[in-house]
Structure formats: C-alpha cells, structure tokens
Symmetry: C2
Subunit: 322 residues, 2 copies
C-alpha cells in the first residue's frame, strides 16, 4: 500500500482542481491511501475516501524560506510534516515552488551524498515511447560541478527504477559537443564525471530530444530555461498546427482525414500529462505540480508520485550514490 | 553599394555550398560587391562575378584562438583581414565559430562601450510576422551583469535598425518572472538594467516566443541551450507532423487538403531561412553561418549581412551605446 500526502490548497485553482484530481486518482488506483491537507469544508466531499488534515492557510507564491518555515499552519507546512507523522511515501503540492522545495529539504532532509536536490522530469523524444530524463530543471539558480555529477547519478537511478534501464547513459548539457566546451562550471563537472559509468560527454541543446540520451544533466538555471523554452515552443507550434488546419475550407476537410494521425502527436506533446516535477535527493518523494495545475494535470502529478513510490525510488537513489 | 567578404572554405560542405549561395545572391542582389576568399580552382566559375582572394587553408573546427591567429594563410584569417584592406561592410563564414568570433574581435576590434560581443538572432513568435531578438546565443560561456546590460542595449539598436521599432522593450531571461528570481549574475544584471529605457524585467523561457518581447537577453551559455533546444524540438515536431500525415491512407488524403495551411507553418519554422547569427558589438558585420550550411542557408546568411549593412547597423549600435 502506497501512502501519499496531498497539499490540497496551494495551486492557483485551489481545492477545486485538487479534489477533482483526488477523486479521479482514487477511482483508478486502489492500493494507495491519501492524506489530504486543506480546508475541511472544501474537502467535505472527500471525507469518506481520504484522511483529512485541516488547514486553511496558503503560503503566498513569493514568500521567503524563512516565512514559509514560520507559517506552521499552512497547508504545505502541514503536508510536509505529515510525511513523517503519517509515515507517507510522498507529498504532492501545486503551491509556491520555493516554499515546497525548501520545506521538504529542511524538514525531510537530504539523502546522504546529495549536496542539492534537483527537479527531475522525463521529456518525450523523437523515438516513440522513449523519454529522456532531465535534471535539474529549476530547483537551483546555480550549481557546483560536484552537484552536477550527483545529478547524473540520481538521473541514472531514476532510469533504472522507472524504465528498467540497467545501463543508462548520461550527458552533460553544453554549448558544444567536444571536451573543453562549456561554462566554467560544466567544464569542471566534465572532469569529475569523466570516469563515471555511462558518462558520454557533452551534449548540445539540439540533440537533447533526439532519443540517444537517457539522462541529460543541466544546472538549474539553464535546465529551467530549456524546459520552459520547449514548453513555449511546443505551445506555439501546436497553435500553428491548429491555425493551419482552420485556415481554409480545404484544410478543415484535411483535418477530418488526418485527425487520427494527429491524436498521437497531441498526446505526446500534451504538457498536462507530464504532470509535474519530482524533487530528487530528499528522503521522500516530493512532486511539484504546476502552480496553475488543472484537475487533469494535478492527477498526473499524483500518478508520478504513486509510480515513483511503487518503484521505491528513494532506495534506488541511495543505492546509486553509495 | 554594399561590400561583403565571404569565407568560401570554412563550412562542412566546402565551396560547393558557398559557390551556389554566391551565385544565387548575385542573381538576386545587384548593389553588392563580393570578395570571395578561397581556392582559386574551386571558385573558377565565379571569376567574372567576384573578386577572389586565394586561400586553400581551412582552420580546423576545434582550433584554439592562438592557433587561428597563427594560421595567417587560412581562408577565415584572410577574410577577416580583407574587411580592412577592402573596406568591406561585413564578412560571412561557416567555419569554426571560435576562430571566426575571436579573429573578428581581435582584428576588427570591439565597439567602444562593448565589453563582449554577442551572437544575436531573430526568432519567429506566435504573432504572425513578429520576431523576437535573442542575444547572446553562444559567443560567450559566461557573462558579467554589465555585459548582459550591454546586450540589452545592442538588442534594442538591432530592433530599431531592422524592424524600425523606435521603442523596443527588453526582457532578461530568468527562472521566474518576479524581481529577485534568477541566477546570481542575472539578479545583478536586473539591478543594472532596472532604469534602462524599455526594460520590462524578468522573462521565463515559456514566454520568450509569445510575441510580447522585442529583445530577450541571455548569458551566452543559456542562450545557446535555449536556441539549440528550440531547434531540436522544432525538428522533432516537424517530423512528427510528417509522420501524422503519412500514418494512414486517410491522413495522406488529409495532407492534400491541408497542405496549403501547412506551407506557412513550414516556412516559419524552416531553420535554414534563419541563416546564421550576427556577432554584434564589433566594428563590422560578421555573420556566422551554420557549420553544415547548405547553399540555401549560406545564401540566407549572406542576406543577413547584406540587410544589416543596408541598415547601417554598426552605426546604430554605436549611437545606442553612447
């Protein structure tokens, strides 16, 4: 039995989205217990299905770590602490990224051998069914070379646990493929990673999604720029496709014929289904859903936490860092 | 009359691509003189149309700045020097980025008030006909806050000259929109840029292409990761569209109907037409074409240099930095 704590209050869409997500989740999954932290009135409809921990306070999106640590009544603070008190496997929140990441790190502690936790996310590639694992996509603003090396190892553990890939390769994002290219930090990281099992060297941005890489290591700043850049471009291209199909009567007919082929395309690029990012490197499974998560995307964030718990990801990480 | 020097030798496709490009260019443009640096035999067919400066040596893609400075017989060295001796307006090369950028900077010198030149490139946005100007997309591996501020000013000058935009806005790439977000370097840059005319604050990667930004400032490392990431994703999505249209008999028929609508789409995302990146901040117009530039994309690189020369971009930059 998996046990997950859900911060029901943090996101832009409030408990409306999270209640919808929890209901769907419990309809589909029958070996998971849910502890829901939020306003008892708003969660009334869930009463028979989940354990409710009451909280009506939401940490503001832009609050500091110190403020977040002081707001002991907030839903996110209570949710993170419930991981300990309820012996839960993970915690999901759509609230302030900064507050959620720092509270999980400070309260639930980092895994031994991890200097900095990282946000990790799979991304679809050119090869059907193959995902590339990207980290850090935004937990840090800057990283040391040692942290980047640890990211590589955590990424490998993730691939082993989630994709049953026994020998995952690791690339380091860079501005050129050759050794000696990169920022001062990535150049040093390259030296540290050189002898690491599966390390394949530098990778340029244009090859991240071509399917050859299992894990790509980014510093948190450029990883965030990369991921959000891809998100923006995918959105733009999708709306261009829509426009192309509605530009004339002929193209509308074309759509009727090609619809089926495009369904797979849409599914693949549907960001909602990516759900959220897992903060890898702490002694639990924290999944950060988008701030503006809908019921659907919050559901997928819960699925991520559930699947990671089933695969015992925290132990896998610990093993890989030994 | 515009005058351009062309390094005919540097790219992966050698003079085959560049000769094709020069011929097309001269067929379409009649107020530009071309000085072609390369192997006289290979350029024989151009003899009546251009001035030829002989060189048979190509700087290796991975040579150091020092090596490049010593290879005085190389096509790129001779091309950069010909900008002075021939009083040319610009120089185009598909050769080693490092060699080309450092030779132009060292030999042709930086503009007063510029600490570091930057690679600048326009990118299509969601809004039809609107481009966003991105810099630095890869001239540097890291940048100071002051350099980022100068990039903003150069980007504005570019918008003024190329798009007749009298009041271009400038955003700073970041991992969050609010003041106080960012890497240590971008946070300091924010402070410096705060009072700059047109500065609009931080911008997340997902909004770079939505059409509201005129100029987005990146450090060279994350700019390179962003641009190449977009390139890779666009390629992947384009091939997915192709697959969607060929996945069944019905979808093939759909294509026949929708073809017209998709032509605009293809044109917009055709990376070949973006051509190359302009190194802004030196006393000339150096345009770096892709290493694997075809005749078509090298032609577009020449067009960039030509158009920038017609708009007197170097003076515009100088004015904007005063």
């Amino acid at each position: 039995m998996v046990k997950l704590v859900i911060d029901m209050m943090g996101g832009d869409n409030g408990s409306k989205a999270t209640v919808e997500a929890v209901n769907r989740f419990l309809n589909e999954i029958n070996d998971c217990e849910i502890i829901a932290v939020g306003d008892e009135n708003e969660l009334a409809s869930l009463k028979s299905r989940v354990t409710i921990i009451p909280s009506q306070t939401v940490v503001p999106m832009e609050c500091s770590v110190l403020q977040a640590m002081r707001m002991k009544d907030s839903s996110v603070y209570k949710a993170v602490n419930a991981v300990i008190s309820e012996k839960a496997d993970g915690v999901v929140s759509a609230g302030s990224t900064g507050a959620f990441l720092s509270l999980t790190t400070l309260i639930l502690k980092k895994i031994d051998g991890v200097d900095r936790p990282a946000l990790i996310t799979p991304f679809p590639t050119k090869i059907e069914g193959k995902y590339v694992v990207l980290l850090d996509v935004g937990a840090s603003n800057e990283n040391t070379p040692l942290e980047l090396m640890q990211f590589g190892k955590m990424g490998q553990a993730y691939c082993k646990a989630i994709y049953n890939n026994d020998n995952p390769n690791v690339y380091l994002i860079s501005n050129g493929a050759e050794e000696g290219k990169g920022s001062p930090v990535t150049k040093e990281a390259y030296e540290l990673m050189k002898d690491m099992k599966g390390f394949k060297g530098n990778l340029e941005g244009r090859y991240v999604l071509d399917g050859k890489a299992d894990v790509v290591v980014f510093d948190g700043f450029s990883g965030n720029v990369f991921l959000k850049g891809c998100e923006g471009l995918a959105k733009m291209m999708s709306s261009m496709i829509k426009d192309a199909f509605t530009s004339s009567f002929g193209s509308k007919i074309g759509y009727l014929f090609a619809k089926k082929g495009f369904k797979g395309f849409k599914n693949k690029m549907d960001y909602k289904k990516v759900g959220g990012a897992f903060l890898v490197g702490v002694n639990t499974i924290p999944v950060k859903a988008h701030g503006n998560a809908t019921g659907e995307s919050f559901f997928y964030s819960m699925m991520i936490a559930y699947n990671l718990a089933k695969k015992n990801i925290v132990n896998e990480i610990k093993e890989n860092l030994k």
